[in-house]
Structures are given as C-alpha cells and as structure tokens.
C-alpha cells in the first residue's frame, strides 16, 4: 500500500511533537477540523508516550465538562503544552491570518474567523502551524491582517510561539529570535527551488536540505490500525479517504 500524503504529514508532525529540543508535550489539545494533527497526536500516544490528549471536538467522552471555556482556562494557566494552528494566510514572521483578505474584516476573501488563536498562540509553550495547501496565496510575505502575531515585543506576556510550519510540500522550522523560517526538510517530489516558487515569503536554507523521511512500517501500522480506530467517530470522512475505513453502521 502506497504512503498517503496525510500519513507522511502525520508522521512528520509526530516527530516534531517528540522533538527533545522543544518544551515537553505532556498535554496536547487539538481544535476544530484538524484530522492530520489529531492523527499525529494519536500516533505519539499509540507509540507508548504518556501524553494526555484533549480533542475539543470529540463527541462521546469529550474531555471537557465545561466546553471550550475549560480548554482556554487550562491554557491560561499553562497546563496545555502544545496546540496546532493553521491560517488562511501565514507569513514569514509566523503571523497568522484567519480573518480574511483585503480590508477588515475580509472585503476580498472572508475566512471563518480567528477562533481561539489570538489567545492560544501566546499562552501555549509551543504551537505547530499546519496547513496542507502550500502556495503563494497562503504563504505570503505579509498577512493582510493579523489574527495572532508570531512574535511579540519584549514585555508582552507570551509563553511560546511557532515551533515549526508543516505544509503539503515541506517542513519549516521557526526561529523566533530572528523572526524567520528555515527550510528543514522537503517532501518527496519537492526541491529548494520548487519550495521557493510556491512560497511568498523569504526563508533561510541550510547547505543540505534532507528529504522528509517516510513513515516507518511501524508508524504506518499504527496509523492504519489503532490511530484510525480512535479517529473514526470524530473524522469519518478522513478515515474513509485516507485509511479506506468506514465506521460500522
């Protein structure tokens, strides 16, 4: 069975979650409509790592008894270690825009809105940015409007920012000290040149850029088995499409 792009992305996200150089991920929360990050978190769990996983949109056995308010209160206290955010636009300083393009509040294209990003991005020790579409319209030099900034001036309370940006083409690492991304690895079929052509912002490139590793046989077996089992209820369409598995009627 060939490796699906979503499986590669989930494995890449799982490696970032387990990065020993990053602050520890003891409690991870996953928000709305994020099947690939959810798969990555379940993969980490099924590999035996003792991580607490709170899926905001889990219908049965939802982890919160005070809804999303409890997620934000936990995060305010510093009890959520890692969160995932996306963006209609993401720029080279890791600013994210979930509002729209053109004039405020989205005279050209209107995105759904900022959700909890203007809080979570500040209050979580690390955020992994994830957006499958990697194109100049998404990865822009400067976002039209800022839902949440990637870096803050000294004095503004902030626990962390982006660790990395994972797209359908590559993995970027974020360096908050200089407010820039570095190309960390490219997915199969991509090159530094193809990434440059698809990216609206400037980024740093090391002398050697490795290929994003394939998921191992063990990772694939977990993703297609126990990870899929956990995800079927919340993400039936994703499980049918990626793992070719339908929920029992």
């Amino acid at each position: 069975m060939t490796i699906k792009p979503e499986e590669r992305l989930a494995a890449a996200l799982a490696r970032l979650i387990l990065d020993p150089a990053a602050p520890p991920a003891r409690h991870i929360a996953v928000g709305a409509a994020s099947p690939v990050p959810a798969a990555a978190c379940w993969l980490v769990r099924k590999q035996g790592h003792p991580v607490r996983l709170s899926l905001l949109h889990k219908r049965s056995g939802n982890p919160f008894t005070e809804g999303s308010r409890e997620l934000f209160d936990l995060t305010g206290q510093g009890r959520i270690d890692l969160f995932f955010l996306g963006g209609g636009q993401i720029d080279g300083q890791a600013n994210i825009n979930l509002v729209g393009t053109g004039e405020w509040p989205g005279s050209n294209v209107r995105f759904p809105g900022s959700f909890g990003s203007a809080f979570m991005y500040f209050m979580t020790p690390r955020t992994i940015l994830f957006r499958e579409e990697h194109s100049p319209r998404v990865l822009v030099e400067k976002v039209d409007m800022v839902s949440a900034p990637g870096v803050s001036p000294p004095g503004v309370f902030r626990r962390g920012t982006a660790q990395a940006l994972v797209t359908g083409r590559c993995v970027f690492r974020f360096h908050p000290d200089r407010g820039r991304f570095t190309l960390e690895s490219v997915h199969p079929g991509e090159s530094v040149e193809s990434i440059r052509a698809a990216t609206g912002f400037d980024f740093d490139v090391p002398a050697e850029v490795p290929r994003t590793p394939d998921p191992t046989e063990a990772e694939l077996a977990l993703l297609r088995g126990p990870v899929c089992d956990e995800m079927l209820e919340t993400y039936p369409e994703f499980c049918a499409r990626v793992f070719d598995r339908k929920q029992a009627a």
Partner: protein, 278 residues
C-alpha cells in the same frame, strides 16, 4: 421560571424574541436551539444581533440568510466539514451584516464577567492582534499588581438579551439538562433571559438527583421552555443523535446562491411537515 413549569409553543417562544435583541447561540457542538432559529425565520425576525458563544455555525448562517440579522459578534462562522458559511460570507460582502470579530476566550471571559456582576475582566493574549485594533470597546492597561511594563487586555461584561439553548430534557420544576456542556450554565447566568427548547419533559426535580444536578441549567435562569423533538438538528445533541453531515452538505450546496437558499427554506423551514415535526 414560574412554578409549576408550563411549556410554551415554539412559535410563541419565537414571538417573544423582540427584533433587535442580542441573541446568544452556542456553537454546533454545544447545543444551540436550531429549532428556535427556524421559528425566528418563520416569524420574520429582524435586526437580531447574534453572539457566537464562542463561535457560530449552522443556525447563524440560516438566520443571516433569512435576513433576520443586523450584526454578528463571534470568533468564527463555519459549517465545519461542510466549509465556509455561505450566507454569512455573502451578507458580509454585500454589507448587509456588521461583523465584530473576537477570539473564543474573550467571549467566554465577557460572559464570566457578567455572571459575576463585575464590569470587566482581564484576558491574556490579544496584544498585537488586529482583532484588538478593531475593538474600541476593549482596553489595554498596565497590570496594577506587577511592577510595571505588563500590558493586559480588559474586556467589558457582556449580558445577552436572550440565550437560545437546546437541552435534552426539562423537568416539572423547569430545570433544563445539558449534560457535560456546563459552559452553557455560564451563558445562562450571564443572559437576561434563557429560552430553552428540549427533546422531552421528565417528572420530578432533577436537582434532587446527584448525578443529574451538575448537568442542569437551574430553573432560576430559565424563562421559557418549548418542546422541540430533534431541535438541535442538523447539528448533534450529546449522545442523543449525531451531526447530520449529509444534510449540512446539502445546505452548504444550496446556500451558495440566494435562490438555492430560498429553496432550502421552503423545503426545510417553512414547509408544514417540518413545522409539524417540531
């Protein structure tokens, strides 16, 4: 709630919502009364100011499409897996609805301030976001408990005129059971009136049952209860029924155009059989 609890009809409940009211709706995974939204469309409500607690979904798009809404304050409007909310997007583009963008915990915090009866509460984050730049009603102060140089945002208390919730059951005392979605209690405490639709009524007093009491919105806060079977449909209701993804996808497809949206209303909102079902 006056005792003993008397049920009202869904249409009478909709008639009690004045045009221009600030109407708070929970998101699609947390028990919005879609039945009341449909009844408001039927009654031709105007100028409603919707509050997404903290985000907005199906019912908000329906009310906006039907011309019931002047303003929406929310942290996002979406149909989930079915994509962007088409009537919201169209109304925003045409300038028919004013959008006040927020971020989820800010909405919870403004309600928590109202619940406590204090004029404002602080919230971390937000500084450097354009959301804050577009909210003249939100202020930044220097944390008075720090040594200086610690800016923090203050949010005003928000007390919606009406909260529209769909619970699983109401008892003879007028308590409404919402299971683990206890953030709805904060919404109920903060709102001037709570209008609840429910799947069914049960005898007795749920507050006397230790296992049911924590999931109740106390009758203290509830101003009207109407029976509406499948009143959250097409969104999910706890473990009672799931999200009707096929229906929401059909809605999303039809609501891409004004004509398609009108067709949807005729079929599912104005249609007599749909009303009988409610």
């Amino acid at each position: 709630m006056t005792l003993p609890m008397t049920l009202t009809s869904l249409e009478a409940m909709a008639a009690s919502v004045p045009d221009g009211a600030v109407l708070a709706l929970p998101p699609d995974n947390s028990l919005p009364s879609v039945a009341l939204a449909r009844a408001l469309v039927r009654r031709g409500a105007k100028g409603l100011r919707l509050l997404g607690v903290p985000v907005s979904g199906f019912a908000t798009d329906l009310l906006i499409g039907a011309g019931c809404v002047a303003e929406v304050e929310t942290s996002a409007v979406s149909l989930g897996e079915a994509g962007f909310a088409p009537r919201f997007t169209a109304a925003l583009k045409e300038g028919r609805v004013t959008v006040r963008d927020a971020t989820c915990p800010a909405i919870h915090t403004m309600l928590q301030a109202a619940e406590k009866g204090v004029p404002f509460m602080p919230l971390r984050g937000l500084i450097g976001s354009d959301i804050l730049a577009h909210r003249p009603d939100w202020k930044v102060i220097d944390n008075p408990f720090a040594a200086g140089g610690d800016p923090i945002v203050l949010l005003p208390a928000k007390s919606p005129d009406i909260a529209a919730v769909h619970g699983v059951m109401a008892d003879a005392e007028g308590n409404v059971w919402v299971g683990r979605r206890r953030e709805l209690a904060t919404l109920a405490h903060a709102s001037k009136r709570v209008l609840a639709t429910v799947e069914r009524t049960v005898p007795g007093n749920m507050l006397e049952d230790e296992r049911l009491a924590p999931g109740c919105i106390s009758a203290t806060y509830v101003d009207g209860i109407a029976l509406a079977e499948r009143g959250a449909w097409p969104v999910a209701l706890l473990d009672e029924y799931g999200f009707d993804a096929a229906h929401v996808a059909e809605y999303a497809k039809l609501a891409k155009t004004e004509a398609g949206f009108r067709e949807y209303l005729d079929r599912y909102v104005f249609n007599l059989r749909a009303q009988a079902a409610e």
